[in-house]
Amino acid sequence: MIILSLNNLTKSFGGLVAVAGVSFEVERGEVVGLIGPNGAGKTTVFNLITGALRPDDGHIFFDGHSLERLKPHRIVYLGLARTFQTIRLFPQLPVLENVLSGSHCRMKSSFISSLLRLPAQRREEKAALVAAMRELEFVGLADAWRAEAGSLSYGDQRRLEIARALATEPKLIVLDEPAGGMNDQETFELRDLIARIKDRDITIILIEHDMSFVMKVCNKIVVMENGVLIARGRPEQIQKDPRVIEAYLGVDD
């Protein structure tokens, strides 16, 4: 079953065409790697999918909904969560509240019930605390729940971003360079984490520059260069694809 499909997606900034007619599909349960040289337009594709940018042309369908006119918070509500390439936590707030920010869109308490602290609001608040702590346990940060998010190590901040995204109860999660800035040990643990996210029946798309990482965790790879999709397929096909090798290594004259 196709959960996400991009159809002829196009976006330009002034004269620069960042994404030019990109189309691909993601099946439910897949782990898809989006790779390509710097400036290929990968993050722009992510920003289009998550609603941070509006496409000039083309369509995005997610789980039966058309996304290209929706604001980011609506897209999260539909079940598509993200992490950011440059970490965007709420650094001054405690780790727990960072995860609770993800729970926000699944909570229903109205303004009035919050103002009057009605019983239903207190029950929901308690349930949200449990859910948030479970996500922190899932990524291995539960003991740090009181700490300021900004005080965590780089790798821990990346994992906290993932926990925050998981707290939105997504069907699809997009990870922008999840291993960026991680050491070998952390990258190794991240592979395990991604496998466990997949086991929760959550589809994953990720951008990553670490090729051995991508080849190990992804079961499908999409390659972009200069805003254009140049190849897609299983990891072993991509490794042999002459256009991909050319894009990464250049070609002999």
Partner: protein, 319 residues
């Protein structure tokens, strides 16, 4: 609640109880009036704290919402003969609707851009009032002869009556706002203050929450307007000028934006201290200004910065 918070609970409760006994200690009407004025500013500053302290929006036009509330009460009484306390909900409602209308087009503005526009709102409201808008506001002279409030047949006339009215309402508001701040609503405002892009990207409807912060702050400013109108019995456009907005802004920033205790302290310092130093007369504003400059250099986060929320983890996930 942490152990440190427990330790301070009873001393604080005693302080509050002592404060509410103030009229019984032979405090003269003058000082009660000063306390009433502090209470009114505290109420206004607490409502501004939601917008400025929690959502981090630089709003320097709070006097406009205060004016809408005060004039709603004034007009409903002088033109339609409504009892004063019956105008309270309408004063809040009118201020809230006004805030919704003026904030909706400017809510996407950030930082100092929003600041400039909100200053404009105060001036527009003041000038509209001076020009006797709708023929109801009495022009530059304002509205006179507004009645004292009556509660169950008891007419509030003396300063200590108003002391309990204003500070009682402020106490209830403190509790409600405390609950609000410790809910998903309060957290959503903090996410917006910290990083609006990340907040929107993780599922917070930032536009809606920013607007709601404005509206709820305005509703309470409108309530304060009712108390002000019935206490002063006369309201005029001059009472709702830009300077009032600056004072409220100062209270929140100086006391500690996002912390109720800080805002209360700010109200006592900014409104109360000048009264203590009346003898210095003309130079007191100079001291006031110097104190603010020193504050911004040595303690920019305010006298009492927020401590963060206390969470008690349910047993199944306790750490």
């Amino acid at each position: 609640m942490s152990a440190a918070a427990d330790k301070w609970f009873w001393p604080q409760a005693a302080l509050v109880a002592l404060f509410f006994c103030a009229p019984a200690f032979g405090l003269g009407p003058y000082w009660l009036e000063v306390l009433n004025q502090i209470g009114l500013y505290a109420l206004l500053a607490l409502s501004l704290n939601i917008i400025l302290g929690h959502a981090g929006m630089f709003h320097m036009g709070h006097a406009a919402f205060f004016a809408v509330g005060a004039y709603t009460t004034g007009i409903l009484y002088t033109s339609y003969g409504w009892p004063i306390l019956c105008t309270l909900p309408l004063a809040g409602l009118a201020a809230g609707i006004f805030a919704l209308l003026v904030a909706a087009p400017i809510i996407h503005l950030r930082g100092d851009y929003l600041l400039v526009v909100t200053i404009g709102i105060v001036e527009i409201v003041r000038i509209a009032l001076v020009n006797n808008i709708f023929g109801l506001t009495g022009g530059a002279n304002g509205l006179v002869g507004i009645a004292r409030p009556v509660i169950f047949g008891f007419k509030l006339t003396r300063p200590w009556h108003f002391f309990y009215l204003i500070w009682g309402f402020t106490a209830v508001s403190l509790l409600l706002f405390h609950w609000l701040e410790n809910s998903r609503f309060g957290r959503a405002l903090n996410y917006i203050r910290e990083d609006p892009v990340a907040a929107e990207g993780i599922g917070v409807n930032t536009t809606r929450y920013k607007l709601m912060a404005f509206v709820i702050g305005a509703v309470w400013a409108g309530f304060a307007g009712t108390f002000y109108a019935s206490q002063m019995r006369t309201i005029s456009p001059g009472s709702f000028n830009f300077w009032e907005s600056v004072v409220l802004f100062t209270i929140v920033i100086l006391g500690g934006s996002g912390n109720q205790k800080g805002v209360l302290l700010g109200a006592f310092l900014v409104v109360g201290l000048p009264e203590l130093f009346r003898s210095l007369q003309s130079s007191r504003l100079l001291f006031f200004g110097a104190a603010l400059v020193l504050m911004m250099i040595f303690r920019p986060q305010g006298l009492l910065p927020p401590k963060g929320r206390a969470y008690r983890l349910p047993p199944e996930v306790a750490r």
